[in-house]
């Protein structure tokens, strides 16, 4: 019998005024759906990020692999530093961010209204969904020459590739989000005399917003994965371009640097999206 605890609680019982701090019993770490404190979470997340780097560092310094094929983290950091100092890293990063963002925004501009229509009106869904399901399997890379022919070789072409890579999946996800709006919310508006347009703009769109923002966050990741493909087309700057160039000369350290930079930018965007989500839709986070 845990006597300390009993005496603790017993002593408070009569007065019932001050509550002693909860005594933490044995906490099983390996529990299904167990809970973690914020601190534990952060420590583990940091560990999860750092451990692979340590493994990499060990592998690179073990001499098991040729330096050309497996640069060490230090090489990569040096490379990033040199890239920053000599080779206009900021320029490359900004143009890539611009391209991805532009392609992404363009895609969202079409996907949101279209997905809204598909999710709202069954005939639109019937007409477009199978077609989109058909197109979503098509590899964006295959469209490069077509894009060049139809769009040209300027910035437009890079944006178009990112658009193609993102758009079709995005529409389908938006439609799904819209379909998940509770029917009761729509019907409540109908009984108050809302017209079609009002229901769409005042209810469906508002109600789907949190899900839509999440969809945008996820598709943003896809947009980034198309960066290298997009910068195949007549680019002479950008992170993807730098990776491609490094590939030609087997500068593995630069390939690593480019990939990691893209991952970092992605991670930051992801967290920004999550932050906006938390701030914009507080009712989803209140218990």
């Amino acid at each position: 019998m845990p006597t300390t605890e009993r005496s603790l609680s017993k002593s408070t019982m009569p007065s019932a005024a001050v509550m002693p701090v909860a005594v933490q019993r044995k906490r099983r770490f390996w529990t299904i759906r167990g809970r973690l404190s914020r601190k534990e979470y952060l420590v583990l997340a940091a560990l999860g990020m750092v451990l692979p780097f340590v493994g990499w560092w060990w592998l690179a310094s073990s001499g098991l692999m040729d330096k050309v094929f497996m640069p060490s983290p230090l090489d990569v950091i040096t490379r990033i530093h040199r890239w920053f100092m000599e080779d206009n890293l900021m320029g490359d990063a900004s143009i890539s961010i611009y391209r991805v963002t532009a392609g992404f925004i363009l895609s969202a501009m079409f996907a949101l209204p279209l997905g809204l229509m598909i999710g709202t009106y069954r005939p639109v869904q019937a007409m477009l969904e199978p077609l989109l399901d058909f197109i979503r399997y098509m590899p964006a890379v295959a469209f490069i020459p077509l894009v060049m022919i139809w769009v040209g070789i300027d910035e437009g072409s890079k944006i178009a590739i990112i658009f193609i890579g993102t758009f079709f999946q995005m529409v389908l996800m938006v439609a799904e989000d819209v379909r998940r709006v509770p029917l009761a919310q729509i019907e409540a508006a109908q009984t108050m005399g809302a017209r079609r347009g009002e229901i769409v703009s005042l209810v469906i769109l508002q109600s789907a917003k949190p899900a839509l923002l999440d969809t945008l966050r996820i598709t943003m990741g896809w947009a980034w994965t198309y960066l290298v493909v997009a910068e195949l087309v007549a680019a002479n700057s950008g992170l993807g371009y730098a990776i491609l160039k490094a590939q030609r000369f087997l500068q593995t350290d630069k390939i690593f640097a480019g990939i990691i930079l893209i991952g970092l930018i992605g991670l930051v965007t992801d967290q920004l999206f999550r932050l906006v989500h938390r701030k914009s839709f507080p009712w989803l986070y209140r218990k």
């Binding site: 919310q185 019907e187 409540a188 508006a189 009984t191 108050m192 005399g193 009002e198 209140r286």
Partner: protein, 279 residues
């Protein structure tokens, strides 16, 4: 008394291509202005379907429903509905939820500035009528279930509907909160002079609230019996213990058991009774 809602030979068939479900067959019912009618019946007997047809959210397959003599052909601002679940807008505050209908075009047409003031005053009045003054700026998720349903009722009442259609509005509330809501809804009914159609599973609730209790039976959904409630117009909680009340409750429950298609549940009870009696 003036007839507000006329339901004539109403029939409704749901079909998914292969199977047909006859949710309503030959339902006839007249509801007077400022009458409080409650609908009870076993699960699946078409209570919600009938209510939704009056509300214009579903179309009848046969027959007709008229409100003020005009056939129903869709939702209308004269008929407000309150549902059991999820119908508040979580992204709006309590006050914004209540005023939601004022953002709709149909309520903005041809209104004068004094109308606006009246409406604004009405929102405040409803808020305090519902005892929600302190919660005007809260969001629905911050309220208890009972408070949420009060907001939903206030929202439905704002555009001064003639008819209030309620589908198990208190189904998710606990017994205590429910009693409070009963008195509240009766109070509003007397104040606003609406015509109420109220669907519930709870026979006690149906008798306590209704002037008439309409008992429906399933397969096909139809009206089985209509009971006049032998209680004075002004209700209070003690009446629930009166002999008339208890007698009517027993009678209705008995009839629901008889009409319900839930053979197994009924058989079960019979079997248990048989088992326990000799044992």
């Amino acid at each position: 008394m003036q007839t507000k809602i006329q339901i004539e030979a109403a029939g409704k068939i749901y079909t998914d291509g292969k199977h047909n479900v006859e949710a309503l067959r030959a339902v006839n019912l007249d509801i007077a202005a400022n009458e409080f009618v409650t609908l009870v019946g076993a699960s699946g007997c078409g209570k919600s379907t009938l209510l939704r047809c009056i509300g214009g959210l579903e179309e009848l397959s046969l027959g007709e429903i008229r409100v003020d003599g005009r056939p129903v052909s869709g939702p209308g601002v004269n008929r407000a509905m309150v549902f059991q679940h999820y119908s508040l807008y979580p992204w709006l505050t309590v006050m914004e939820n209540i005023k939601f209908s004022r953002r709709l075009k149909v309520h903005r047409e041809g209104i004068t500035s004094s109308d606006v003031e009246t409406a604004s005053g009405r929102a405040d009045a409803l808020l305090s009528l519902m005892g929600l003054n302190h919660a005007a700026l809260a969001y629905p998720d911050q309220l208890s279930g009972g408070m949420q349903q009060r907001v939903a009722i206030a929202r439905a009442l704002l555009p001064k509907p003639d008819i209030l259609l309620l589908d198990e509005p208190f189904g998710a509330l606990d017994a205590q909160t429910r009693e409070v809501m009963h008195d509240l809804i009766l109070h509003i009914f007397n104040l606003e002079k609406t015509t109420n159609v109220f669907v519930t599973h709870d026979v006690e609730e149906a008798i306590y609230l209704g002037q008439r209790v309409v008992l429906m039976a399933p397969r096909p959904g139809r009206i089985d019996t209509i009971y006049e409630v032998p209680l004075p117009a002004e209700r209070d909680q003690d009446m629930k213990l009166s002999p008339e009340f208890i007698r009517l409750k027993k009678e209705i429950l008995q009839r629901i058991r008889e009409t319900s298609g839930m053979r197994t549940d009924k058989d079960m009870l019979d079997r248990l009774t048989r088992q326990t009696e000799p044992g």
